[in-house]
């Protein structure tokens, strides 16, 4: 699991990649939290486009990120979600708490 992030107009985009499982999730969670703490974004976008596998550890990552954004009064979106991570996310009902789309968000 590696990620790239960029900030534009208070919008933080985090491009996740590789496999998200328990082995990799904690480190990713801490890195995402650190970015939010430093940049204080109004919008945060987790881009799943390059995620090749995700188990329920990814749900915990999303919940963790959602809490951090809620504390800032900001919004979270999940974009470019491939079918396998999407199925795991939908099983958790997280779509009731956060916007989830297959497409990349418009610039």
């Amino acid at each position: 699991m590696t990620f790239t992030s960029f900030l534009q107009d208070k919008r933080l985009t985090i491009l996740l990649s590789g496999e998200i499982d328990h082995h990799s999730a904690r480190e990713t969670m801490e890195a995402v939290s650190e970015k939010i703490r430093v940049y204080l974004p109004r919008y945060c976008e987790l881009d799943f486009g390059a995620v090749t596998f995700m188990d329920s550890s990814g749900i915990a990552l999303v919940i963790h990120t959602l809490r951090a954004m809620n504390e800032l009064g900001g919004k979270l979106r999940l974009t470019s979600v491939p079918p396998q991570p999407r199925k795991v996310l939908l099983a958790s009902g997280i779509q009731n708490l956060v916007a989830l789309s297959q497409e990349r968000s418009p610039a």
Partner: protein, 151 residues
């Protein structure tokens, strides 16, 4: 139950073995001609079961985890994940969505995902003795006629 092929792998409860267990399962299941979606479902369920053994069965130590894969009649894949760890006091409670004894990095959705991604799930656990999770999934597959079992 009668099975025509079987693989048994034992590894220590190290988190890097989660990816290993998924890969081994996918490699075993490949002979059953699964669809990409079926393979993903099985890999996800195995990841959850093995993670539970690593996180919950052995919270303070490293212990053995046994993964058994079997090809049963009707192209059914059986996956058994067994540990000799602390066991589950209340299995019914553990099966509740969002229930977890793990920390903030656990979602409590592992068993719910195993249940919904596989056709059958059974859990046998004895506190202090360990837990065995057995899951089955019928792989309808891509219907490749060349992928019949060999005698």
């Amino acid at each position: 139950m009668k099975h025509e092929n079987e693989a048994v792998i034992r590894f220590p409860s190290l988190s890097r073995n989660e990816a290993f267990a998924r890969s081994v399962t996918a490699a075993f299941a490949a002979q059953m001609d699964p669809t990409v979606d079926e393979l993903n479902d099985v890999k996800t369920a195995v990841s959850e079961a093995v993670t539970n053994a690593i996180v919950h069965a052995y919270p303070d130590r490293v212990g053995p985890v046994t993964l058994r894969l079997r090809r049963l009649d009707d192209n059914i894949l059986e996956v058994t994940v067994k540990d000799l760890g602390c066991g589950i006091e209340d299995v019914a409670q553990a099966r509740q969505p969002m229930f977890t004894t793990g920390g903030a990095d656990r979602s409590g959705m592992g068993l719910t995902i195993m249940e919904s991604f596989m056709n059958a799930l059974s859990i046998r656990s004895r506190p202090g003795r360990g837990t065995t999770v057995r899951m089955k999934k019928k792989l309808v597959g891509r219907g490749d006629p060349d992928c019949k079992p060999r005698s």
